[in-house]
Symmetry: C3
Subunit: 645 residues, 3 copies
């Protein structure tokens, strides 16, 4: 199903009726509204002006659209900021981040919680039972513009409260953090300082706790909104629209509050933001890399416990990347279908019509700037709507055979302590994911500690702390397991385990890590044996009683195997990674379809989908029944088919 | 004629007489003094010490030199800053920019206006009728060191006043800015905040107004100085010494205050500051690029309404660029003659003698550091003086056949909203200028809205807002017109026109722009047809009823023609730009002389000048009468000649 | 002899006995402790807890270890910082640098001096006569983390005091600084402002004085500690552990306080920090460049007036560089022996055991993290201990035949006024040192003004100010002298000499410099004649009456000779530098052994040492008697031998 993001407050009221009608004609069924409208809903404290929104929702509902309403907390208005300056976030340099754009609040402010509760309660009460309303979105894009971590006085206050709960006594905090080092010992929780503006790096354990604290706050803040909404708006679901590659808080914990996850899919902008090589950036500039959107679809399907939307789908060029190319013709349609292939319930475009003013005026919409006229992206959406209608109800997404364990805390840990400048957790996971998808595999993301039963292959690119639940889940796993470097390298207090890494995991893997070498670009360590390639960036020195499948140049173990548990003791280059994943997938008896780098396949129920991100065609496997598209998959095209049994 | 900048306060009084005599012997006729001497003129509030300057001016005048006196406002002394801390400017991070160098004031400070009026009045009164005095320089290098825009409390106060005048009511401001977006609405002018330190980018319309406001202030501040000077110093002209590639304020508006423009020409430093490629930087490191100085000569001839000086001419290596090479032998002479060829009335060297102390001690002068001995640059100046004398009075500069419309606001607009990271207005204009000069053409700069009548060819590289006057001027133009991308893309409130870009210009050009693609380095779109090459950086998607002369790879219009109006829908690469300019110049029936990349020619009256910036010789056209130099133009040489009729 | 750094406070008291025993078994004789333990020694103001340290020292002493005790001033505890916020340093942006790591104090704070005296007095009193104690270390790594220069209110106060002493009157200060420039004149010492946060660059003379002031403070602060220690701890020596490539203060002046110098040798980290090319970085990533450690050994032998230790020797991978590779097998042993070859009395490893917590948990120790088990580096240390024992007492270091004059102030001067962005004093000296060592030469560092008598060859890469003592020392020198560019280019007040550079040195060299060209990468000026190669980065224009040995492309002098004094008028590229140093060494009749770039040799008494940093073997000169190692020197190996007479 298709949806769209709409801002009635941006357009003359006389145009709303036409907009609603044209949306329905296009094949749109859902419309998200309201998430930035606080200044229009409450122009001054306590003076509410809901009538316009009443009229807008009535018009949309009457036209047959299902409404998703956003709580307006991402944009507190000027009068509120002036009245309550303590809601303002601070940057890492200690400077306040002021009014004038959005997300100008810190999760640590008690005032902000009070104000948020007030407005959410009022909005939820007024609209919670509106006939057209089917769901809610809390806030908007938590974490966008680096807004999870704030470094102000309110943050310090809240951090002290959090630490007091966690550690009970200063002695326990000192012990956990190893404060004896460099005379950092504290005698009371009041002694705690923000871990910024120190002479050299602050204690990594402090930084990790500061990150955990902020992550916990996001989940709690979101839950507060959800609780209020549920009270006033029975039988409506709640979601939040997450972002891509923002790992500053644990999305799984926010997902626990929600009925379904959603995310904002801007595939092209990531080509500039993700650490691709220049060659990759040039290659994928106008299509995006073929794993960028799917990586997030699969991630948010997990965050939503099986249910997710694309809340904002890029409909053409956008405005916020260093360069913003027009997508190649066909890509808007392709991305839409791809989301559906990965299980999206709804793909909702951002936005109905390109704005003629303010920050996002260069962001395409389904309609040209200011006009009632479909844009190139709008025409592609129209085609998808027709195709979707022709296919009817789609089968459900099935559990994949491959699980990838994804862990937000490992990102925080490795950002805090990279040890090698190019150790990037998100890049590592992305490359593991890519390697598996190049084998034609469907993948489920799994949070640390969740059950791994039923998966034939479990990929753990890196999990720095393996807590009891994660340990138990790995032990209970029945499939083949491939574990990457740094896993088990820290305990919950950011300390090296007493028995060296991988700590408690050592019984399963059979090794301990006695040294680590980080390698600058240009250095590598050749790996040979059962799988071959190079170790780059991060290379561990192992002592092991496991079987050694591959070795480094000096004979040290590179890939080991103990029972079904494999351990890869380095950051693998592309060749080594591809070989390692193929090796374990084969071990796990999973059928493999090797696809070129511009082709990806994915199944939903009994349907198979193929997508072509490149410049050359690809032949769909001969033995299949075409449902949509051609057997010869042209560039920027997709095909849907059923494999013959 | 030649001049020189001189600092009597830097040298023992006993040396002044000798200095004056040696200046005259060298052939110097003008001397600029006084612009940094405030602490010597008023060592403490109200305690004046003019006697030394009296004596210095008398000595200079007696020697036969004509004096240009600078107002000393670029360097308020310490006692003033301590007394009036509200004059201090603030950087974009909100930090005050303190005493200890120069230009430590904000144009927004009312205190600063009061103090400026006071000192200018006193200086103008005392010296306004001095017999040796022929002209004034206001302040020094407005905008140097990023000093137009300031982000302090005084600036906010003044900005609010300016907005109140412009918009009358908060509602009109909200409407103009589109403040409904992200709940940015204001309920009073007191709500306005500086557009810095926001969480993400602030409203572009706010930023543009903030820029306009500062630009207006500079013009008003300069006018205040001019008004005082005119009152006390009849029959003297006034100028200001502008900088190269500083576009933070509208120089045309300051020019309106002045009798003539002047600028400070440091050709070599720009090789590092302008966005040249590394190859170009290496090539032109010791000569400068052959269009750097001429571009500014032509610009400031327009700013000065036909009259300009070079107030500071680089006489050897300087001190402020990342690297400061010694110019190749001959370049100081070449640059001097080139300024004259472009119409400069006087070329004045900076400075008479290299200082032995303080910030600019590595900056060459006409004399060696601290000595009464000509430097290599001084010897070249001496030669120019002799040559000038031998030629006698030079003919007047004629109106060129080619006009280039140059628009400061388009720079502000595209800095605020680049959309593609490498969209640089100044670079675009420079490359258009270069393309025309490679065809041997003389060029006049024209401000937006000024008459274009009488020009055979009008080049408009980019004019984001086409206001009524600019529109009328284009309609009234009788020559061939070439308009570049982004022209007409915004209205006065930074909004997309109701009928899409180019707004009101669409009747002339015949098109509308429905999408824009910005292309990262490495991407390009091949253009073929009447002119060929590649679109890079910025590529528009046009719908047009004009004739299509060239197309992009997919057949979209790249160059269109409606009557005499051509539109180029991209940022052209070197090849495409050269072809497009050649195409329209040919259309316009202008004779072309294609010159190599290291040769430039220029006419003044009936004289032709040729300049060789490179390593290989060039033959002057056979049919001419040599006035100065050789018919085979050697490297770093110039020739003056008359074309035979 | 070997030593180790130990932190009893990091480990359970039950383990101390074992640690001490295992140290002795390994062959360790010295143990440094206590330098970060303030919070454990004085948990709250006036509440002391010395008993644990008493016990630790007793255990170590009883095991036969000699103790070096550090004063704990590098890590003032939280309660002290809270009580005395005026001890906190400020960064260049004016932001306080807070508690949470180390070195969070400014040398300018009078409170900090009072607190330092107090704790040093207490510690020195308590332990000054401990039987196990043999020496003291003052503080820890002055200058680490950019902590010499601080920009806070206490610094301004102290700077004014220092200026008042130096200049006596504001007039003399104005005269010295050339404050007349840009109206910077001051009327009282109270007018002095910190030279940061100015609109453009501040006066270079002010910056140099600010640097000298801070440097003087470091020496005075260190002397204060030494005086207290000497009072309470007779018959013990005092050292400080300096850093590599930190030139922010004059180490020779601190050395004057000490009995011996020591330094902390982390050869691999410097591969990333020193401005090597990428190719060099890749080549030396896992061994370090073969001159990095030796350069500092020779420097600190001079700072220690002939006596030095390595106080912290890298024992494996560390944690603080952008990448931290494992050293190649053999390098820990090689570095240790190399320090001894250069005269180190003791090489002390950092640290006994890798920590499992806090900032340095990824820093290797002689034992694995948290364990009683030697690491790979520990095993190499063990081998060195055995080899050292087998060799017995080593001969004394002899005076070298080559002197290199090293001048901290020249570093400050050229940082303040680079003129060419890549003029880096430390790089220049390093490259001169490297060129001499590639000829197999032993080198002594000499401070400016110290006697140069007895040296056959004196190298002066750059000495911007040649004061009277330095001038006299050069005049009295009996050997061949090679002087590099910029020498003598400034007087004590950062002014250009009245007779142009090299000022007073001109009688010796025969030249004056009339212009300087700085050349961007990609530009060079070919040099030919007696020595050939290229001038890069910095190229002077000389007028000279000396003999011209080599010339630049245009015939200008590049290398001149007047008597035994040679002057090289540029920054030489590798080829030119090698040729110039070979030329003067030959002139000086010093026997040369040209070694490949991965081999270095060094003598100590009658012993010769050879070290192999590369991948290919090297043959020891045939005519020698092997003392340790092989005649064919394998990669990462060392040999000790006696040349046959």
């Amino acid at each position: 199903m298709l949806g769209v993001c709409y801002y009635p407050e941006h357009w003359d009221e006389a145009r709303w009726e036409t907009d609603a009608r044209r949306m329905v004609e296009l094949g749109i069924r859902f419309v998200r509204i309201g998430e930035f409208a606080w200044s229009r809903l409450e122009p001054a404290r306590g003076q509410f002006a809901f009538e316009w929104l009443d009229r807008a929702m009535d018009i949309l509902a009457r036209a047959g659209l299902k409404i998703v309403l956003g709580t307006p907390t991402a944009t507190p208005p000027k009068w509120l900021v002036d009245e309550c300056p303590d809601i303002i976030p601070y940057d890492k340099d200690g400077k306040p981040r002021g009014f004038g754009s959005r997300r100008h609040y810190t999760f640590s402010s008690e005032t902000w919680w009070k104000e948020s509760k007030r407005i959410v309660e009022i909005v939820a009460e007024r609209y919670g039972n509106h006939q057209g309303l089917v769901g809610w979105q809390t806030d908007n894009e938590y974490g966008c513009h680096d807004t999870i971590i704030s470094w102000g006085p309110e943050d310090l206050k809240a951090f002290k409260r959090w630490l007091r709960m966690r550690y009970q006594s200063p002695d326990q905090l000192n012990e956990a953090w190893g404060s004896v080092f460099w005379s950092m010992e504290l005698t009371s929780f009041d002694d705690v300082a923000l871990p910024n503006l120190t002479v050299t790096e602050p204690n990594p354990a402090t930084r990790l706790d500061f990150w955990r604290f902020h992550s916990d706050q996001v989940a709690a803040y979101d839950k507060m909104q959800c609780d209020i909404i549920r009270k006033h708006s029975p039988d409506r679901w709640i979601t939040h629209n997450f972002m891509g590659f923002i790992l500053d808080f644990d999305h799984f914990k926010v997902g626990d509050n929600l009925d379904l996850a959603s995310w904002d899919s801007y595939p092209i902008g990531f080509v500039e933001k993700f650490p691709f090589s220049e060659a990759e950036r040039n290659r994928w500039a106008e299509t995006s890399h073929p794993d960028i959107a799917p990586f997030h679809h699969d991630l948010y399907r997990a965050v939503g416990n099986g249910r997710f939307w694309v809340m904002e789908q890029q409909p053409g060029p956008v405005n916020w990347a260093p360069w913003n190319p027009v997508p190649k013709p066909g890509m808007v349609r392709l991305w839409t279908w791809e989301a559906i292939a990965h299980g999206a319930e709804v793909v909702s475009y951002f936005r109905w019509r390109q704005a003629t003013f303010a920050q996002e005026q260069m962001h395409a919409g389904l309609n040209l700037a200011g006009l009632d006229e479909l844009s190139p992206g709008g025409l592609e959406a129209q085609r998808v709507a027709q195709e979707l209608a022709s296919l009817g109800v789609l089968p459900d997404t099935r559990k994949a055979r491959v699980a990838l364990v994804f862990d937000y805390q490992s990102y925080w840990t490795t950002v805090i302590q990279p040890q090698g400048k190019d150790f990037r957790y998100e890049e590592l996971c992305f490359r593991w994911y890519e390697a598996a998808r190049r084998l034609g595999l469907d993948i489920d993301f799994v949070r640390p500690g969740a059950s791994l039963e039923g998966y034939d292959l479990v990929l753990v690119p890196c999990m720095t702390e393996v807590d009891e639940a994660a340990h138990a889940a790995l032990k209970a796993a029945t499939g083949t397991i491939l574990i990457g470097a740094r896993t088990g390298s820290r305990d919950r207090n950011f300390r090296i385990p007493d028995n060296l890494p991988p700590g408690s995991l050592s019984e399963m893997t059979g090794h301990r890590v006695i040294q680590v070498s980080t390698l600058r670009p240009g250095l590598s360590d050749p790996v040979s044996g059962a799988v071959a390639g190079n170790g780059i960036r991060w290379r561990e020195y192992l002592q092991t009683d496991a079987e050694v499948l591959s070795t480094f140049a000096n004979g040290d173990p590179a890939l080991t195997k103990k029972g079904s548990v494999h351990y890869l003791a380095c950051w693998p280059d592309e060749k080594l990674l591809a070989a390692a994943v193929r090796h374990v997938a084969t071990k796990a008896d999973i059928p493999i379809v090797e696809v070129p780098d511009h082709i990806r396949i994915r199944t939903r129920g009994d349907l198979s989908f193929a997508f072509n991100y490149g410049d050359s065609p690809w032949s769909i496997p001969a033995d299949c029944e075409m449902v949509l598209g051609e057997a010869i998959l042209a560039p920027q095209e997709l095909s849907v088919f059923r494999l013959k049994p």
